[in-house]
């Protein structure tokens, strides 16, 4: 099967990353922000896999597993924080949560 060239791979990863970034910037609900962050992380991992396959080394796949592990940890902490925020402020609207201004 023809391998996809690296440039195409990076473009895909880049589009995915931008979608995730846009999601972080635009979405108001905290859970969606978290999901968008996940998309960004996975996009970065995808870029690593592409690079690893181009150089024919396993390092790309290894990095992806690292990223997965870190993402998992971070999501769990994030979700815990979201639960606490919801208990305290009764809302998940990110614009309401601007107590640290000024």
């Amino acid at each position: 099967m023809d391998s996809i060239s690296m440039e195409t791979g990076f473009i895909i990863a880049g589009i995915l990353f931008t979608l995730g970034l846009t999601g972080v910037m635009i979405r108001r609900n905290l859970i969606f922000v978290l999901m968008s962050i996940e998309i960004m992380l996975n996009a970065a991992g995808l870029a690593f896999v592409f690079a690893g396959s181009f150089w024919n080394q396993a390092d790309g796949q290894v990095m992806f597993i690292f990223i997965l592990a870190v993402a998992a940890a971070e999501v769990s902490v994030g979700l815990a924080l979201i639960i606490l925020i919801f208990q305290k402020f009764k809302t998940l609207d990110i614009d309401q949560l601007s107590k640290m201004k000024g």
Partner: protein
Amino acid sequence: MQIFIELIVLLPFLGFLILSFFGKYLGKKAISATAVGSVGLSALFTIILGVKLLNEPDTALFASLWTWFDIAGFNPQIAFYVDSLSVVFVFVITFVGFLIHLYSAEFMVDDDGYARFFAYMNLFVGSMLILVLADNLLLLYLGWEGVGLSSFLLIGFWYKEPENAAAARKAFIVTRVGDTAMAIGLFMLVYHFNTLDIQVLLNNIPGQWEVDNPLATATALLLLGGAVGKSAQLPLQTWLPDAMAGPSPVSALIHAATMVTAGVYLIARMNVLFIQSPVTMTVISIIGATTLLVAGLSALAQYDIKKVLAYSTISQIGYMFLALGVGAWSAAIFHFMIHAFFKALLFLGAGAIIMALHHEHNMFKMGGLRKKLPLTFWTFLIGSASLAALPLITAGFYSKDQILWYVWAGEHGSTWLWLAALTGALITAIYTFRMIFITFYGEQKTVVHQKPGALIKIPLIVLAVLSLLGGFIDLPHNFGNFDLFSRFVTYTLPGIEIEGENLEWILQTISAGVALFGVYLAYLFYLKKIPMYNNISAKLPGLKKFLLLGWNFDGLYNRIFVVPIFTMARINKRDFIDYIYTGIANLGLFFNSVLSKTQTGNVRWYIMGITFGAIALITIMFTL
């Protein structure tokens, strides 16, 4: 001998210390005994020194306590130097001072501040003695400021009244202006001679500074500034009339006999410097002549008896300055001594009157006291006669006449100056006898509460005798040329050359005639009260007010100095420089308020910031 000199100076200071620390534990007799005693002992020792110097008038005595300091060869000592000039001054200070202390023992007896008064008086006498006995100008300056301080404390003795405190303040500040000029003069002397030792300076000034050298003139004018301030001459005379707020003995001692003559002493002592600057000498004589006229005219309009005497003092010191200016050094000192006698007498007499009439100062509320206070009247009359220089019998005639003669005939004299002095003599006679006629003759307007006691009468009598007989120690040339005094001081003061013929007797007759005419005018105006006087005085109320205010120098100085200084101080009370620093602080606060707006607390705002910042950075990195 040395110990006597030291004691003369130190005894009054000892009196001051005792009275300051233990005054409140001592009884009134003890207090007055300490004060009068210390000055009395000083007077006694002065007589001893005086006798010694009379026998050997071309010598001097010297006593040194310690070296004040020594920097690069500049090393004044705390030391005292007695020669014929200083012994005259010391004699007046201690002897007249002793009489005045005696008088004050009774005069101030009802005052709560009895101990404080005598403490200050002793401090004054001590400082004045340091002034005239100092062997270097720095120590003289110490005495100079010391008498300024004592004068401040004594003028403001009854300090609860704000006017007295204000008068004291005025005296201090006006004399300080003069003192500042003198200080600059001292700096010049240190710079050019590296010493302030008087005898060394007198030896070296002619060698280094030739006649009319601008440096000599500058230094002389600066020292003159100090003299003018202390001696209340134009333009620094405004403090003396106000100083009458102090008790009468204070006026007698400080503002008649001693402190105000400090300027005369300074100029006489530094005569070598002044001779090197004929310009300054002319300035001195002009200041003397104008002051004597301005003050004399002002005295004509006063109604407070002490103010008449104050302006009279300014005027008589004008005579002394005039004499110094034309080079009649010994005549000036002679007049100083005689003036001390009769002016102290007049002030003490005025004090006795004021006390007898229960603190009435206004002459027009007095009257008819001739019969009620006979001793006071006769002594006051003798003093006034001396002041007006009534011919032949009064000491004042001999001293003033000497000045008039030298002003006419001396090589630096001039006819204009002589005319001014003569007019001054006329005015003096008028205002003096105006004072006598209004106070002692006519109807009695205030009742006599209390007659003076012995301690007041004795000084009055002694001073009256001196005012009559004091002049006989130096008779004019055509009276037999008995010049005991001039010869005594001739080793310390230069002589004077006479130009022109010996017309002395004509001048004497003229001045005698003028004095008598003045008495006659006063008699006409104030005793007989002829209508012409009332017509004139009614038509010129403005002139009267102007003279009453002493030609309104106070108003002038108020406008030029006082008001601007106060305004400047008030506007800038908050200190405009502070605004620079609060401005910087406000700038910081401004940036704070601007930048803190970026902290919205809004997460999405932050994310946007991060994103765009990252894009910007990466772009910049790749384009460079």
